[in-house]
């Protein structure tokens, strides 16, 4: 146990937390916009898988990690399209459709993986990092935060960007009104359906990027079911964040830390059964929900379809 709390362990823990936390961060940020607008997007797990598959396929065949991210975002958004058509425009039950999308994409990507990759198991090379001068030399923090692929920096920059969007623009107000009392938004001449559509597609883009990061940077390989509940953790993060992007970041890093404990323990030479460690993030979800669940304040119209002129 003496390996704990020493530099290699902490470095590995923090670096792992970031690597594991980025997909959660992207999923949580994406989900947050949907939830603000009143759409509970349980299909996000499927969107992540779609993004992971499309991102990996593109990266492995083109050799470009950035094309992979682009494809991942498109893949996630593509999975979000049925959610838009069925739930936002037609007003079907969001949870049923969301679960359907998740299960559907699990099956679809598993089959595609089986057909394409199950004999060869192609692997992407480790991504090159872009160390930030000076900052990357800080012990522990440096390697974890400032010696990463540029995508990681961009993901972090999304947090303040979204915070500004929510607090400082009219679109931020529209999102809140769409989730709180859509009719009130509608009568001011703003299209509720369009606002919610943008939000759900954004969720798809973010979840897709998160999935692509997971496959291309985190693992370097695509395997079926690889998102492993990350999308659902994203849903929880968004619910607990009370509408603040920064809270999603904090939550993502905590859960990412739990996920990275496995590797960190191995480096420290501590032998804990991996099953126990892999259970940790979900146990954490339960603890967090018990402790903070009461503080969650959800939009009033969350999960309710909007039909104009209906009382």
């Amino acid at each position: 146990m003496e390996g704990l709390l020493q530099v290699p362990f902490l470095t590995a823990l923090l670096a792992g937390a970031v690597t594991a936390g980025i997909p959660l961060l992207l999923a949580g940020l994406g989900e947050q916009m949907s939830e603000k607008a009143g759409v509970l997007n349980v299909g996000i797990e499927g969107m992540m898988l779609g993004g992971a598959y499309a991102g990996f396929l593109t990266a492995i065949s083109s050799g470009s990690i950035w094309l992979g991210f682009l494809a991942g975002a498109c893949g996630g958004a593509l999975v979000a399209v049925p959610m838009v058509i069925l739930c936002v425009q037609r007003g079907l039950n969001q949870i049923v459709i969301g679960i359907g999308l998740t299960l559907g994409l699990e099956g679809l990507t598993a089959i595609l993986h089986h057909v394409q990759f199950s004999r060869t198991y192609p692997r992407l090379a480790r991504v090159e990092t872009l160390p930030i001068p000076l900052l990357s030399d800080i012990p522990i923090l440096g390697p974890a935060l400032f010696d990463r692929h540029p995508f990681v920096y961009l993901a972090f920059l999304l947090v303040p960007a979204l915070a500004i969007l929510y607090r400082g623009t009219n679109f931020g107000l529209w999102l809140r009104a769409a989730g709180d009392r859509p009719a009130a938004l509608d009568v001011t001449g703003i299209d509720v359906i369009a606002t919610r559509t943008v939000a759900v597609i954004f969720t798809g883009l973010m979840a897709g990027l998160g999935g692509a990061f997971l496959a291309n940077v985190g693992a370097g390989i695509f395997v079926p079911f690889m998102t492993h509940g990350d999308g659902f953790i994203g849903v929880v993060l968004a619910m607990l964040a009370r509408g603040r992007a920064a809270s999603v970041l904090a939550g993502a890093m905590i859960f990412g830390g739990c996920l990275s404990l496995t590797t960190a323990f191995q480096i420290a030479g501590v032998n804990v059964p991996t099953d126990v460690i892999q259970m940790l993030p979900f146990a954490t979800v339960m603890v967090v929900l018990i402790v903070f669940g009461r503080q969650a304040s959800l939009p009033v119209a969350l999960g309710l379809p909007y039909v104009r002129g209906e009382r």
Binding site: L173, W174, R181, G189, P299, G309
Partner: protein, 533 residues
């Protein structure tokens, strides 16, 4: 202010009939199996207050929804500036200059007033707060409206929220402004002010549609009156004709158009034998110096002391948002007291919860019938027993005894004349008047000893107002103590034995309801208003 509020409508209208700004031709709209509107023709002109008069269910609100782009007509045309238009969305209506002050306030409760007013702007922009302050300031000065832009909308009273909607209508380049039952939440003074406001707006060249079911408002504020009945237009009284008729015959004419079956009896007032309540005995309810803080800036109540004796109807008058609702909630147990004492039947009840107080016989009929008062999606039968769930004889060892519940529901529906297709119909589908009857049935069930009515006739039509007032009088006559909170002074005067007047969260005075009470109560209401104005 008095000059404004007393401003008479200038009946002399010099200009010849202008071309209508908006005209409806043969408009029809039906839902599933209900005809909401059928072949309605209307012409709305700039500089004219056009009153749409009709009972609940006459199709007024559907017409509003058609004009504001919330619904599309099945038949007929909407003609704007001489050319047929399809108003496909609220945005299209606003672009045409049609603004609406909705009956069921359309504001997002979680946003502040300012944020609600800023909603309709370009998505990328920063909310233009400084410009809004200025614009609202100008409107506030011009029209005597007043709102706190930083207040959270959901914490304002319904009357205050309505002011926000009016301001929202005025902030846009509106040419036609629709007021959908806007007086139903207002005090007599507020109604006069709204009338004066509409007059100022039409003088500036706006066209106004004013929807109401109150005859005297239609007559006093309208230049032209269209009467709707069961979705059809049954008559129109032009401005010339309105001018030519004297009060009594205009009244007679409108009433006969509106209610063929009802005689023109004038005001919907139940005559009341005012009795002296034996105030020598012990009061049933006693509030001593109770204080409750208002939520984030709204008016709280301070040092309220009053007593109610069995069989007495105590009216609480006052302008909306002066703390009346807090008194009701404090007595019912929905609010914690900051200080003070409440005794009921000799026991201190300040620390009892809502259920325990109900058991003691305290009943509260909220004015918020649909969200606080009932579960809209539940059947009428379930709503009738909402506060008895799990109790014998309707539930037994955890099982629901549907047969017993149905017998109870049928009896209650019959006794209280709740017009519902079936006891299984979700209560949200009923009209306001029938929901009110169902709530009354529920609250009077069991041993009621004190019933608090909060704005019991708000939003109801003529027939239901008469019925509701009769019920309230009967409750008092049965020896039950009644607290009647209302912003309708006529209602208070018609039903109360004593009248307490609220102003700025305090009781401005408690009077016997004798012949000259009207002036005294009005004086206290206005006096209080002047004090803080």
């Amino acid at each position: 202010m008095p000059a404004d509020t007393l401003m008479a409508k200038p009946h002399a209208r010099p200009q010849p009939l202008a071309a209508p700004l908006v005209a409806l031709r043969g408009i029809g709209k039906r839902f599933a199996n209900v005809v909401a509107n059928e072949s309605i023709d209307l012409e709305l002109r700039a500089g004219e207050v056009h009153v749409l008069l009709g009972e609940n269910g006459a199709g007024k609100s559907t017409l509003v929804a058609l004009l504001s782009g919330l619904l599309q007509p099945d038949a007929g045309q909407i003609i704007v500036d001489g050319s047929p238009m399809r108003i496909l969305s609220p945005g299209a209506a606003l672009a045409l200059g049609i603004g609406t002050v909705f009956q069921h306030v359309m504001l997002s409760p979680a946003l502040t007033v300012a944020e609600n007013l800023l909603l309709g702007q370009g998505w990328w922009r920063r909310p233009a707060r400084a410009a809004l302050d200025q614009a609202v300031g100008a409107i506030a000065r011009d029209f005597g409206l007043n709102v706190d832009l930083d207040a959270v909308t959901g914490e304002l009273s319904l009357g205050e929220q309505q002011q926000v909607e009016i301001i929202r209508g005025l902030l846009r380049q509106t040419r036609l402004l629709i007021f959908d039952e806007s007086t139903s939440m207002l005090t007599p003074q507020g109604i006069e002010e709204l009338g004066a406001l509409m007059r100022r707006l039409v003088e500036r060249g706006l066209a106004i549609v004013f929807i109401t079911h109150k005859l005297d408002e239609a007559r006093r504020f309208g230049d032209r009156i269209t009467v709707l009945r069961l979705g059809r237009k049954v008559g129109e009284i032009s401005s010339e004709r309105l001018e030519a008729l004297d009060d009594a015959s205009a009244h007679q004419e409108i009433v006969s158009l509106m209610f063929e079956t009802i005689k023109a009896t004038g005001e919907a007032v139940v005559g009341k034998e005012r009795k002296r309540v034996a105030m020598s005995g012990k009061p049933l309810l006693e509030l001593r110096d109770i204080t409750v803080t208002g939520q984030s800036g709204s008016t709280g109540i301070e040092a309220i002391s009053l007593s109610v004796w069995p069989g007495e109807v105590l009216g609480i008058a006052g302008i909306d948002g002066n703390g009346q609702k807090l008194i009701a909630e404090a007595i019912a147990g929905q609010r914690r007291l900051d200080s003070g004492k409440i005794t009921f039947g000799g026991i201190a009840i300040d620390n009892l919860d809502v259920g325990a107080r109900r058991k003691l016989g305290i009943r509260y009929l909220t004015d918020d019938r649909l969200s606080e008062g009932s579960v809209a999606a539940f059947a009428v039968s379930a709503n009738l027993l909402l506060k008895e769930i799990g109790k014998e004889p309707f539930w037994s060892r955890g099982f629901t005894r549907t047969a017993v519940i149905d017998v109870h529901a049928n009896a209650q529906v019959k006794e209280f004349d709740v017009r519902t297709p079936s006891i299984r119909t979700p209560i949200g589908k009923l009209s306001g008047g029938n929901i009110q009857k169902a709530l009354l049935a529920r609250e009077l069930f069991g041993d009621a000893r004190l019933v608090i009515f909060s704005k019991p006739t708000y939003g109801l039509d003529y027939n239901n107002i008469v019925t509701s007032r009769r019920r309230i009088a009967e409750v008092g006559a049965r020896g039950i103590a009644v607290i009647l909170i209302s912003t309708d002074l006529e209602e208070i005067l018609a039903l109360s034995d004593r009248i307490a007047v609220m102003s700025r969260g305090r009781i401005a005075g408690i009077l016997e309801n004798t012949g000259d009470a009207r002036l005294a109560v009005g004086g206290l209401m206005v006096g209080g208003a002047l004090e803080h104005g």
